[in-house]
Structures are given as structure tokens and as C-alpha cells.
Amino acid sequence: MALTGVLRPGHAQVRVLDLEESVRFYRDVLGLVETGRDAEGRVYFKCWDERDHNSYVIRQADRAGLDFFGFKVLDKATLDKLDADLQAYGLATELIPAGEMLETGERVRFTLPSGHVMELYADKTCIGNGLTEVNPAPWGPQREHGIAPVRLDHALLYGPNVAEVQKIFTEVLGFYLVERVLTPDGDGNVAIWLSCSHKVHDIAFAEYPEPGKLHHCSFLMESWEQVLRAGDIMSMNLVPVDIGPTRHGVTRGCTIYAWDPSGNRFETFMGGYQPYPDYGPLTWTFDNFGQGLDYPQRKLHETFLTVVS
């Protein structure tokens, strides 16, 4: 089997200012499937074509932003090994017991030098995608409710020390660098796109003075037409749209950025290409950052650099 180690982004926990307003937004406008609520009041969602119990969890809080972002790893042995590797690298890890999140096994938690809390876990209950495992239909009614992305695809996080973050992902967690934007002097990176798979990014980081900031969580759509349909649904529901529909130069992904009711940006995204770990990274110079963000308009939208939660 080729895909081992860290498999994919598995869950994000995001803070919201008004829980029920946010539930309505995520369930009925974004079209996620609500899968549970826990004793703490957290609400759990998954995308229709995901099989594990949850991928996106919201919690009422007095500030917006990201609590943590978790990756699913192959198995318990992988989890134990990566825990030991992180500690050997010099990062403190914390074990969160199984069951602290609904239907989720033990989690290894650590904090990046960018201020973001990351998690690894091996087990989350498979509840299926609502379709049969024998002779399945290609899709069911859940795909038709709201925007209805197929999966949580990646996140872009803003914080300091991106070079150190890159080392942890590439030297400890088995990710590879897919694309980067150079600093104006060309000596470092202002932004990096990292993959643990065949995807153009599983997580991305941009240099920012304040630690632990969320730029966006991204949800995968199946086609450009579905991205445009997402834009229609956003407008019908007065969702504030930031950028798009357009295409990123970086990753070649087709995109809309918009905000949830608490000001957490999210993305509906499709496309890109399929990199392999032996590909060298693609590089954007700082003066071409605008094309990297919005290729047709060649525009470095100010909100991309300044608006985070």
C-alpha cells in the first residue's frame, strides 16, 4: 500500500459566536450532514461523501477561530510512532483520551510554532456515506441539500515561524512541499502548501505576526459547475463572499472564499493537479503573489492578507 503514515485532514473544530445560527448555516446552507451533539454542546458534522462520523465540529465561544485541526493516520502503531517522533524532535505532546470527541479514538495533540493546535488520531467510527457498500448508487439525497461539498479538503492557517512549521511537517510527519510563495527578498517563504497525499495541499501556512489564526477551512466540490452553484446558494442566503468564483494560480484550484456567520472564512474548492512526493515544489515570487491568489484577475486581494479569525 502506498498511502501510509498521515492519511488526510480528519477534523477541524471551529469556534462560533451563536451556535444555533451556525448550525443552520453549516447544515442548511453549506449542506453538511449533522451527525451528533455532545454533553459540552459541541455540534458535529461531516460532508456527505465522508465515511467517518465527523470532520467539522463547532463550539459556541466568545471569539471566532480554530480550536484545533486533526489528521487521521493509518493505524494505532503509526499514531504511537508519530507521537514518539514528535517528542524526539522536541515537541511536547498530550494524549486526549478516546471518547473526548464523539466516535473518535485517542488523539495526540501538539502545538506548532505558529501557535496552531494539531492533532493526530487513528480511529473514528465509520458511519458510511449513506449509500450501500454493495452496488452503490453514485450519490444520494444528501448531495442535493445546500452546497453539499464532498469532503473537508484542507486548511490555510496564519501564524509566525512558518519555516519551523515546514520542518515539522516534512521531517517528522512525512509531508512534502508542493508550492510556495517567496518573501520579497527571496530568502524565505511567506506561504507554503504541504501534502501528505496525492492532493495539491492537505494543509497550508502563511507567515503572520499573530499566532494561531484561521484563514480558511476548505471543502471539496466535484466540479467547477458545483463551485458556481455554491456561489449561487451563498448569494441566495446573503452569505458574505470574499473572493471568487475564480482560479488560484497556486495549486490551480478553482475557488470561492466566503465567511460563516461568525467571520470564520471557508472555501468551496475544486480542481488542482495531482502531485507526487518526488515532484519538486513550484515557486511563486512575491511580485506574482496576486496571480497565485487570483489568476484571472491577477490581484492580491487585501482581505486575503488581513482578514483572519
Partner: protein, 105 residues
């Protein structure tokens, strides 16, 4: 019925309905380059200080609004709704754009 909101920094006034946030009204002025931000009380770019007038608010992120800010009516425009005529001062990241629109792109 709408209320009149006066931006003390510039002397510009605009109409804002009670069901419309101060930021939505401000955006309708069409000042070039105003970073509209998240419209959800989460990012903090739209911070203002209400100098006079009645208003209502919705939840806004405490990352950007402290107790002291609340006490002094330093709030996020996207979460403040006018209940009378208002006067305000723009603070935070928005100020440069509102007060100096010609300087923008």
C-alpha cells in the same frame, strides 16, 4: 425608517436602517477600498467607537473587543445596529480607508 450615522473623522453621514449593521450602511457609501472584512464579528477589521446615539449589538469576538472596549462603545461595525441617529469614529484597520479613500489604489 432609517437613522443617520455620522462619521466624525470625515463629517460624512449615511442612512442606516435599524436592521442593517453600521458596516453594511458604510459599505453602501461606496468608498473605494474599504476592506469589508468578514461581516460576522470575527476578524476585527471594522472596529469603530460609537460617540453618541442608541444601538443594539450582536455577539462579536472578544479577541477584538475587550470589556473596556464594550464599556467605551468600541465595537465592531458589522455587529452594531442603530436605534437612533448615531455618531461614530473609525478605529482599527478600517480607519486608513475611510478617512483617506483617495490614497487607495
Amino acid at each position: 425608517m432609517t437613522h443617520t450615522v455620522r462619521i466624525e473623522d470625515t463629517g460624512v453621514s449615511y442612512a442606516c436602517a435599524p436592521r442593517e449593521s453600521l458596516l453594511e450602511g458604510l459599505n453602501r457609501l461606496g468608498l473605494r477600498g474599504i476592506p469589508t472584512g468578514c461581516h460576522g464579528g470575527g476578524c476585527g477589521v471594522c472596529k469603530i467607537e460609537v460617540l453618541a446615539g442608541e444601538f443594539q449589538t450582536r455577539a462579536m469576538s472578544r479577541d477584538h473587543v475587550s470589556d473596556d472596549d464594550v464599556a467605551h462603545h468600541r465595537l465592531l461595525a458589522c455587529r452594531v445596529y442603530p436605534a437612533s441617529d448615531l455618531s461614530l469614529k473609525v478605529i482599527g484597520k478600517l480607519q486608513r480607508k475611510v478617512c483617506n479613500p483617495a490614497s487607495v489604489r
